[in-house]
């Protein structure tokens, strides 16, 4: 079956005065119908940029699509005209943003903002739109929806605002919802609730979910497939259980090792040494090599190819690939 959304070798650069920040440097991933795909990576690795590119929301300039293709339902959408993109945004592909506190317009009521999302795509009467809004707020678990619709965003808590954002994203029954770290700005108990909400909604509506996060605990809860991003590239991808059980890339291993429940009691929690490279000054060869404990001479010189472990499990680390093969055979 062909994927609902397919991103192929996407490159997005930001041109500064003297430097070019290669925020996304050849990223490919696929989202199939009814599937939850997680995009995982540290801050600054290009997760948000890749999501915004799908919706054609990268500010140009300074942004620039340097290459690649994006297909939605088999149709190339990367070069679409603004008016054509407007037909897709919100209606076919909807997005929930990272910052619930600032993503709603402070001068319009919640009801107006959700209603607007419906009425821009569907020619329905105001009353119908209103009852749809009430239903949507119920769906996302907001009590007394009639009253909340008359509220302004500042009257709601962060968790409620994010629920409103989710309701807005669901307004036109999109095929895919892109959730960009929807729980990062919320406190822990609310995070859990929102995550569960996503799980339920995804099942109930049989929609696809592209869930962006840096939290592997979240990934374990909801993902079918995982793509691990590092410095603008995908370093490892595969099915959720497979990846958690048999991580093949040093970066993924590091991320997993730094999960609290994996550490042994009384031991200091593992953390990957070093920091994410600046996208304007990425190291040559494998971008992860300065932080990698398995780095060999070749890692500094050659950009690593994807190595296939079967069953859709790919990892961009030839060094470990060779080692496993020599051990196995």
């Amino acid at each position: 079956m062909s994927p609902l959304l397919s991103v192929q070798n996407l490159k997005v650069y930001f041109r500064g005065d003297e430097t070019v920040a290669r925020a996304i440097d050849g990223v490919s991933y696929e989202v199939h119908a009814g599937e939850t795909v997680c995009l995982v990576g540290e801050s600054g690795c290009g997760k948000t940029v890749s999501a915004l590119t799908i919706l054609g929301l990268i500010p140009r300039p300074p942004g620039e699509i340097a290459g690649g293709k994006i297909f939605f339902k088999g149709r190339s959408i990367l070069g679409l005209k603004e008016e054509e993109f407007q037909q897709i945004r919100g209606k076919r592909i909807a997005m929930v943003f990272q910052e619930p506190m600032t993503s709603l317009n402070p001068v319009f009521t919640v009801g107006d903002q959700i209603k607007e999302a419906i009425m821009v795509h569907e020619a329905i009467a105001d009353r119908q739109a209103h009852s749809r809004c009430v239903g949507l707020l119920k769906d996302v678990g907001i009590p007394s929806p009639e009253e909340r619709l008359r509220d302004y965003p500042h009257q709601l808590s962060g968790g409620q605002r994010q629920r409103v954002m989710i309701a807005m994203a669901l307004a036109c029954n999109p095929n895919i919802v892109i959730a960009d770290e929807p729980t990062t700005a919320l406190d822990v108990t609310i995070q859990k609730q929102i995550l569960n909400l996503f799980k339920e909604l995804q099942k109930a509506r049989d929609m696809s979910l592209l869930y962006i996060t840096h939290d592997l605990n979240v990934v374990r809860e909801i993902a079918d497939c995982i793509y691990v991003m590092y410095a603008g590239i995908i370093v490892e991808q595969g099915k959720m259980e497979d990846l958690f059980e048999h991580a093949r890339h040093p970066y993924t291993m590091g991320l997993l090792a730094s999960l609290p429940h994996r550490a042994k009691r009384g031991r200091i929690l593992y953390s990957i040494p070093g920091t994410v490279p600046d996208p304007a000054y990425k190291p040559g060869g494998c971008p992860f090599h300065p932080r990698c404990e398995h780095a060999a001479g070749i890692c500094k010189k050659e950009f690593p190819e994807m190595c296939d472990y079967g069953d859709g499990h790919l990892s961009r680390c030839p060094v470990l690939y060779e080692r496993t093969n020599t051990v196995t055979f």
Binding site: L55, L57, E82, F85, Q86, Q87, I88, R89, G90, K91, A94, M95, F97, E99, T102, S103, L104, N105, P106, V107, F108, T109, E116, A117, V120, H121, Y152, H154, M165, M168
Partner: protein, 319 residues
């Protein structure tokens, strides 16, 4: 809401009292006295100066003078020391002269600044934005009087119309249309000149407000919903960018009285600004203090109006 209005009014009354005391003190403690305007004039014998001082209570202690003055002002009996005319009547006449200048100037300023600023922000870096930036800085930096003279020369030689003063004298027999056009010509140039500085500054301000709002997350949300270009910019962005200008709207009220001394002087326009300026030269305390007091009232009224307007337009402010 009502308690806010009540509290605000009380606060403003207290402020007004202090303003009246301080402005009174500043005027009276400044060196020079009305009786000494013209010390070389042989008519000003010491006896006459003494009589003058007595008549206008200048020999009394300051607080008595203060009470005398504000009693006179509030009962409407204050007269100018220069020509013994009632101050309020004099001001009213000048005010009516300044009013058309003010209204036309303000309308020109606000109707031009907003489209220019908004367009510059939406198409930032484009040709329109860059030329608007250039002309703004040009108009801000060119001295007003210099620009005025150039324009006067241009208009007078090119269109052969008189522009100095409020109207051409000796036209009373001409047709109504002719008289009307004459008034319009006289009004247009000074109000346009008065507006240029305002347009240059206000359009910049609109632009920066709009730019800031355009970068906000909720504008991105609006785009992600699939809204049209117009809805994103003119509904979601503009509504927020306009909020601070509601405050400014209340603050243009004091401009009613200050007018522009320079423009009124260049065009020999018998308005409020020029009257205040002449009163200062003549040390005509009643006029200076009355102008001062009314300006203070207008400033306070303006801030009050902005506060209330803000309350109405920004849902985040609730009391």
């Amino acid at each position: 809401m009502l308690s806010f209005i009540g509290r605000s009014i009380v606060q403003k009354m207290i402020t007004l009292f202090f303003v009246s005391v301080i402005s009174f003190l500043i005027i009276h403690l400044a060196p020079g006295e009305p009786s000494q305007v013209d010390p070389l004039n042989p008519k000003f014998t010491p006896e006459i100066v003494e009589r003058f001082r007595k008549e206008f209570h200048l020999d009394k202690p300051l607080y008595v003078q203060y009470l005398f003055f504000y009693r006179g002002l509030l009962s409407g009996r204050t007269v100018s020391w220069k020509d013994n005319q009632p101050v309020l009547a004099k001001m009213w006449e000048r005010f009516l002269n300044s009013l058309p200048l003010f209204i036309v100037g303000t309308i020109i300023t606000w109707t031009l600044s907003f489209p220019i600023g908004i367009r510059s922000a939406i198409f930032r870096g484009g040709i329109f934005d860059r030329s608007a930036t250039f002309f703004s800085y040009f108009l801000i930096s060119i001295p007003g009087f210099f620009f005025a003279y150039i324009l006067i020369i241009f208009v007078v030689t090119r269109f052969q119309v008189p522009v100095i003063g409020m109207q051409t004298f000796g036209l009373s027999d001409a047709s109504t249309v002719r008289i009307l056009m004459d008034r319009v010509w006289h009004l247009l140039l000074p109000s346009m000149l008065g507006a240029t500085g305002g347009i240059a500054i206000l359009s910049r301000y609109v632009r920066s407000q709009m730019l800031e709002v355009e970068g906000q997350d909720y504008v991105r949300t609006a785009k992600a919903k699939g809204l049209s270009w117009e809805q994103v910019h003119y509904k979601h962005a503009l509504r927020n960018a306009l909020l601070p200008f509601v405050t400014m709207f209340g603050l243009i009220l004091p401009g009613l009285i200050g007018g522009s001394v320079i423009i009124e002087s260049i065009f020999s326009w018998p308005g409020m600004g020029r009257m205040a300026y002449e009163a200062i030269l003549a040390r005509d305390y009643p006029i200076i203090l009355t102008v001062n007091f009314i300006s203070a009232v207008l400033v306070l009224l303006g801030t009050f109006i902005s506060d209330v307007l803000y309350l109405v337009v920004d849902p985040r402010i609730r009391l």
